[in-house]
Symmetry: C2
């Protein structure tokens, strides 16, 4: 439970802060309120949050506030022993801003009027949810040294600076929970894998019947090996990535989603518990993710081409077409089954893509032979496999696909 | 300097890894290579990187590799004492994958063939740059317990999983450098502030001459206070945010950019030293950044509306029009001047916006009176101000703007 002071409680930031405190009563407790002229709203806020201290900007308004509080106390029995400390004027705001019991001070006073109370809170060593940007703009050179002295921390509440702060922070809590170890990071809710849509993203399901090896090995955005380029065309690549993400980041399959993003600029996203989404972007070039894996935890300075979003102009998104791309569903299903099933899916797919590249099976039959192998494996599924089990089912699935294609060699070349 | 092993060095991931090692010779040293059949390329790689150990997938190819290495040794004097350890076959790959001197193993072998060597590297406790997704897909239940046992860390090199990993990580190094204290986070190169474009984003510069208070206080995306809504319309809000970002995140003004993003879904971005860009997204609702400032470092589970990019459909970007919006340049200039100048800019702007809301000055004259006040302040600039200096110039600037507007009250109401 965090104890919160709200400076400027009746303004836009203040009222939203109090809405949040109201929505999450187990997380936040309001101990101090300061306001300007809107006594009607302030009284309502006092009524709900029962702060320890209230301060008004203007001394002349103090008698009316006292009068209204007395009315409240006589009207509602529940409030008869409610006696918040009341202050007013510049000194009063400072007292409320540095109130002893507060952990965090939300500074919602607009303009330069917010500077002095914010400075008081900083000098008192409070953490600051900074919505009053004037504190820094007008008095940056004064405020920064004070932060160092008091150990106060600025947590930007402006949407832009919060975005930057969130990007810098990632998922900071707890410190050691951000590695991909199969255990979900606290606060991570959903993974959103982006997919370019592959070679056939602009083809209709009907047109896929005419797909050739040349068509399937021409990726619109990425330059990659042949096998993975075909996997992109079937979207099996994305399905396999769903399973990989499940093991790396520890989320259930219901929390791993696919979104089609033809420009391949956003390489994937995470959705956090509070609904915030973080995305990583760059030109489609494998060198960048490889470099980060090599340089982690540092970032190495590169002279590589800067991402220019004004040049990209637009990023588009659409839901994946599961009918056109049955491989996605096959992968989700194999992932959910777990055990040796993903190994069968993967081996059957490798074999089917190999046969496709050898022109022994038509593009649209790739998912069909994979599905058949997975179906057949159900009776032999091992739910807690050892390495040998994995190697064995891998061999079995390849053999199974090869013999299936051989058996129906004519049909396999026809899209039905 | 990190010592790197590359499994599958002649494949797509392997060659890119070696390009990176070549481009950053002070960061990476290649100690082990494994390859399949492309001996021509492998010899070139050995020639450049001089690894300690080389392993081939196929034992039958080993004599040819030895022969070629002997040719190299006799041809180039520099290589006469170069005697890398040579291995082949499945066991050979495992030896190279777990090579003693390596810090990091990049697993670029496509398909299930990569599983066993990757597992060897994991069992040897190496950090793994994981590009071989089959390791997890086929053998997730086998690999995850091994990671725990050996302390090996998986660093995803797939672009999608790297994106997720980067979003989780933020800027992880060093641990304590991610707070907004005015000292730049290592690896942070540029800040990209997004701007909706405000109330007049679809108006021409000419049309602005007809702008009224009602027009300027209707924000297309955000519901905010009046003053800040006018600041959005002049883009002074973005200019002030540039100054705020400078103080919060410690970057020079040349490294803080503005990009117009009409949908206000990306709330801002950071560009990292290696050219990777991280973005934070959400619906335009101040509750989210306020909540994160309140809940930091935790994320609190909310029932708030999930961001749905397929529903948003597109995000667009364009460069800001500095002619139409002179306030941006005024802010950059005041920021670069520093000292008391941003305080003057801020106070002059507050006063000018106040006068605009009182209908005493036309919208297009807001930047003009601010510029005049800043110009006039140059002679009294304090470069290392104390709190009193800030408060004094704030008062001075307000008075200055008021008297300027009074003096030219008729012209001030006309857009020229």
């Amino acid at each position: 439970m965090k104890a919160i002071s709200v400076l400027g409680s009746t303004g836009s930031i203040g009222t939203q802060t109090l809405q949040i405190a109201k929505e999450f009563p187990n997380q936040f407790k309001v101990v101090a309120l300061t306001a300007g002229k809107n006594l009607d709203l302030l009284i309502k806020q006092i009524h709900h949050h029962r702060p320890e201290v209230v301060a008004l900007a203007n001394e002349n308004d103090l008698p009316e506030l006292k009068e209204r509080l007395n009315q409240l106390k006589s009207r509602e029995k529940d409030f008869s022993n409610f006696n918040p400390h009341l202050f007013a004027g510049s000194e009063g705001l400072n007292i409320a801003a540095s109130w002893n019991t507060a952990d965090l001070v939300v500074t919602g006073i607009v303009g330069c009027a917010g500077l002095l109370p914010t400075l008081s809170a900083i000098q008192a060593g409070k953490d600051i949810a900074l919505a009053n940007k004037e504190t820094l703009i007008a008095a940056g050179p004064v405020v920064l040294p004070e932060l160092k002295l008091s150990g106060s921390r600025l947590l930007p509440a402006d949407s832009e600076h919060s975005a930057i702060f969130q990007c810098l922070q990632g998922t900071p809590w707890p410190e050691n929970a951000r590695l991909s170890t199969g255990i979900p990071t606290p606060g991570l809710k959903n993974i959103l894998l982006t997919a370019s849509g592959g070679a056939f993203r602009d083809w209709s399901a009907q047109d896929l019947k005419n797909a050739t090896v040349k068509d399937a090995t021409s990726h619109p955005n990425w330059s990659m090996g042949k096998k993975i380029t075909v996997d992109s065309a079937t979207l099996m690549n994305k399905g396999l990535e769903v399973i990989e993400a499940h093991y790396l980041f520890g989320l259930d399959y219901e929390h791993i989603e696919i979104v089609i993003h033809p420009q391949s600029i956003i390489h994937s996203m995470i959705e956090l518990a509070d609904s915030s989404v973080l995305a990583q972007m760059g030109w489609p070039d494998m060198k960048l993710p490889i470099l980060f894996a090599m340089s982690w935890p540092k970032r190495i300075e590169t002279p590589w081409k800067k991402l220019n979003l004004s040049q990209v102009r637009k990023l588009t998104f659409l839901e994946p077409n599961t009918k056109k791309y049955p491989c996605m569903e096959l992968a989700y299903s194999a992932g959910k089954t777990g055990g040796t099933m993903p190994a069968v899916l993967n081996a059957a797919n490798e074999e089917a893509v190999g046969l496709f590249l050898e022109e022994k099976i038509h593009f649209v039959n790739i998912p069909k032979v994979i599905e058949k192998a997975c179906e057949k494996h159900k009776q032999d599924l091992k739910s807690d496999p050892k390495l040998n089990d994995v190697i064995e089912v891998d061999k079995w699935a390849r053999k199974e696909v090869r013999s299936e294609v051989q058996k129906h060699s004519h049909q396999m070349l026809i899209a039905t």
